[in-house]
Symmetry: C2
Subunit: 599 residues, 2 copies
Amino acid sequence: MYNKFCKKQLWECSRDLVSVAMGRIPAETVIKNAKLINVCTKEILENTDVAIHSGRIALVGDASHCIGESTKVIDAEGMYIAPGMLDGHIHIESSMLSAGEYARSVIPHGTTGIYYDPHEICNVMGFKGVELMIKDAERTPLKAMLTLPSCVPAVPGFEDSGASITSKDIREQLKLDSVVGLGEMMNFPGIQFSNEETHAITGATLEADKIVTGHYSIPDTGFGLNAYIASGVRCCHESTRREDALEKMRLGMYAMFREGSAWHDLKEVSKAITENTVDSRFACLISDDTHPHTLLEKGHLDHIVRRAIEEGIDPVEAVQMVTINCAQCFRMDNEIGSITPGKCADIIFVDDIISFNVKKVIIDGDLVAENGKMLYEFPEYQYPEFAMNTMHVGETITPDTFKIKTDKKKNVKVRAIEIIPARVGDYERQVTLEVKDGLIESDTNQDVLKTFVFERHNNTGTHGVGFVKGFNIKCGAMASTVAHDAHNLLVIGTNDEDMALAANTLIKCGGGMCAVQNGKVLGLVELPLAGLMNVKTAEEMSDKVANLDKAWKEIGCDIVSPFMTMALIPLACLPELRLTNRGLVDCTKFTFAELEVDE
Amino acid sequence: MYNKFCKKQLWECSRDLVSVAMGRIPAETVIKNAKLINVCTKEILENTDVAIHSGRIALVGDASHCIGESTKVIDAEGMYIAPGMLDGHIHIESSMLSAGEYARSVIPHGTTGIYYDPHEICNVMGFKGVELMIKDAERTPLKAMLTLPSCVPAVPGFEDSGASITSKDIREQLKLDSVVGLGEMMNFPGIQFSNEETHAITGATLEADKIVTGHYSIPDTGFGLNAYIASGVRCCHESTRREDALEKMRLGMYAMFREGSAWHDLKEVSKAITENTVDSRFACLISDDTHPHTLLEKGHLDHIVRRAIEEGIDPVEAVQMVTINCAQCFRMDNEIGSITPGKCADIIFVDDIISFNVKKVIIDGDLVAENGKMLYEFPEYQYPEFAMNTMHVGETITPDTFKIKTDKKKNVKVRAIEIIPARVGDYERQVTLEVKDGLIESDTNQDVLKTFVFERHNNTGTHGVGFVKGFNIKCGAMASTVAHDAHNLLVIGTNDEDMALAANTLIKCGGGMCAVQNGKVLGLVELPLAGLMNVKTAEEMSDKVANLDKAWKEIGCDIVSPFMTMALIPLACLPELRLTNRGLVDCTKFTFAELEVDE
């Protein structure tokens, strides 16, 4: 894989690297006296030095002869050093941070490379949005390696997103230097049913000699999984049972064990390794989705390594799972993933192999973070106006908008989406609601709330209408433009006035998440960048989310991270019932469903 | 790595593969009831089926639903199956067989892919010769993956070979589909001294995103090795001490443990794994040089796996070392090296994990060998006339040619090359010889024999003159055109008449190896293809070599495989004293040496 994520290509600096190793020219930097976590041989090697030049590693061993007057010597004082950590599958957007701020947040935790799939911004703005994210990320030292969004929109024909990506687009975009592969191929039915366009998307990636990343979320270790892998999908982060992960590894698929903010698979999935005597080279640790407060309070891959060790995975093996295994998955281990000569000098210092607190981070030979703080200043990046202005709702929203008329006289039976907290699935329920003046209203006693999804990308003026159950809100309303994957404007509420206020608050601020009550905005997280992110810092965003959390509680919502659960209400590729701007979708049959149930 | 070594590219057949796995179309072939040696997880999995279509694996597990009327079902009857074996570093020429015959010899032993460096034929005929070898190999099912000869001639300025390869040539040839990398970079001093042209050769390979293979033959695990690896060299087969191999693995270099016909490193080097608790993913098993009788009597990688198991390496780990580890070294594990969906259907059946007798071999889905015999018939290949006619010696050789004149009267002190049987090094000795009629003669009492190297590529009429010690020949002469790396005509003998006969015998038959006595050719192995190979079968060649062996013994030579040791006499990159067509070379100082020692 051609690696543009480095200071100098190896062939441009090999003569200098060799000269440093031989002692003919001084190293730019030498790390002295470290305990090396050797991920190649799975050992810890005491008293190891590393000589660095041109952003790359020239020598590992005794580097005394590489030190000259100009050499910066970093005494590790017996600390452990490990390769910079790699997250094999993440969506920057779920952090609500811009790519630059995301980099600033994760680097001090030891993350030096990410394989990111910007499919959220792509659903809103298409490749134009992806390009902005590339530019934003490029100014940072983070190796931001792109996997192209493969499924935009997620469920064609059932929703209106801001973009639509074809195999022709993919073929074109694969030529970009920053693209290392295809983002999670969620359309596993398309793969399994040999759909021509779906295979054209994966095929273009294979033909470009890049990596197809996967998303196989059903508990199947049989022929369906085989079929999926046979198409060339190389990794998958959707194992929730130990047997799923183990079978993927056995079938030569990299099993990426997920420990994100919302989805905690590691406890169960780590048993694939701890309860079987297997070679774990096909296992990785990844985050998928991380929220700003998780980044601040727990960290990123450092936290996940600690969690893996807690679950009984050998510490050096856990480090392999965020370094060389991930690099081998992407066939980039010639460039990154180990502290060995010739590789990019991406090196982290940790105080201890168990507590795994990251003390220093070196990327491409530069000390970029220390004691949890970024040292490296990178230039400002200004997103263009169009990226900060993506609320294009084609109707004026007033309380009247939320009136739901019916021909029924007294009672009406409607379909409702029942959420399952901290799970991605939901249930289709049928509930009976009272009819007042020909209108159907929310019923807080039954915890059944009006839910609207407004198309917000192309002023189509369309919206879908449904009911949800499970948030336990007693008053007010809540709204969000983080609404997978089309990211239209989602509004849930107990009364029409508050719903209109919630919707219009987000339209006004360019998108985000809010909670309102009695005509007052209780909490608001503005996400003006594509309606998904903010250019503010992680600290500021974390505070805002904490405030919103409080507001949610005030209006009665008692589930953890309600916005994550809420955000999946429109995601029509998940069972059982979903609501998009086009209406209710029966996701078991892939047909539209009527709101009212005929009796 | 773009893989042209398959029946169909995955993107061309993924829809069919998926249809097979899903049971919609029947598999072409199904293997039933096997014990799978799973190299991904290092396990043995009982009762496993494999479904195959379009030359690739569609499913691994229960394949009952993949069987249709047209499906060929192979009942493994509980035998073990493993991925087809890969030899990470070999020279076809050392088998004395053409590429086609080589393939025919190794495939029944379970070898399905080789990474070969044709630097012998390249020294004789340049890329024209390499191209012929590619064509010869292409007609066979063997995945013959080429690494470009990197050091031709081996020691520029000290010998005349038939070709000279520059970085510009390398850059051009890297574009060939069959080229996966650069052959062993023997010029480690060139790397270590940052020589521009040497780094241009490795750099061109890195820039083409291909693999640089190595050759680091000195016992150094310090900064010299670091420097060599920092240049981007990814593997090395020259470890002779356990600590060399271990250090290479620790430095992220694939350590290729060699067990060839002449060099037996495995006994010692395997201790890198068996006496240390290390992850062995950076270890491979390779042959480097295998002679026809070894292929016939012992086998190829199957033999080396058995040897590895004898040395205490876990059997499944030994199989990993000839499959997935090698594939990962060449960053081709997405295509070969494991029995997992989507990969090329290269599968071997073995009777038992310890005895490791290969019973069946499938390549690209076709059963190509069974019970040690090739089933697959491939078309004839005719080497062009120029390839069968490479003896271009620019002088008429007669007994007079071998007269060595001196000004000394009675005695003369000369430099002699003392060979060390079964070792690649030699010693420089000084011996005193009697002068008769102004001429220096061989002295069988001291075991000091006249040795001549005639340039044979471009009719330059040059020859070098020296003496060797150690073969213990009492009468007659021997000659060979297998004389590394320039492969000029080497003649050693006790008297001028027999030396002339030996030389002219080889000139007449187009090259080879022979032993003569009293005007009679006792043994002759004709190698008319570039003076290195023959298009006959391994059986015929093995018989011929056995006859020659007998002849060698008749004239008194008592060392094992004398021709291997003899062939290194001109290799001026090895210590201490060597003889090329330009004269004696002091290989410790890289200067020419005088035959006579001044006193």
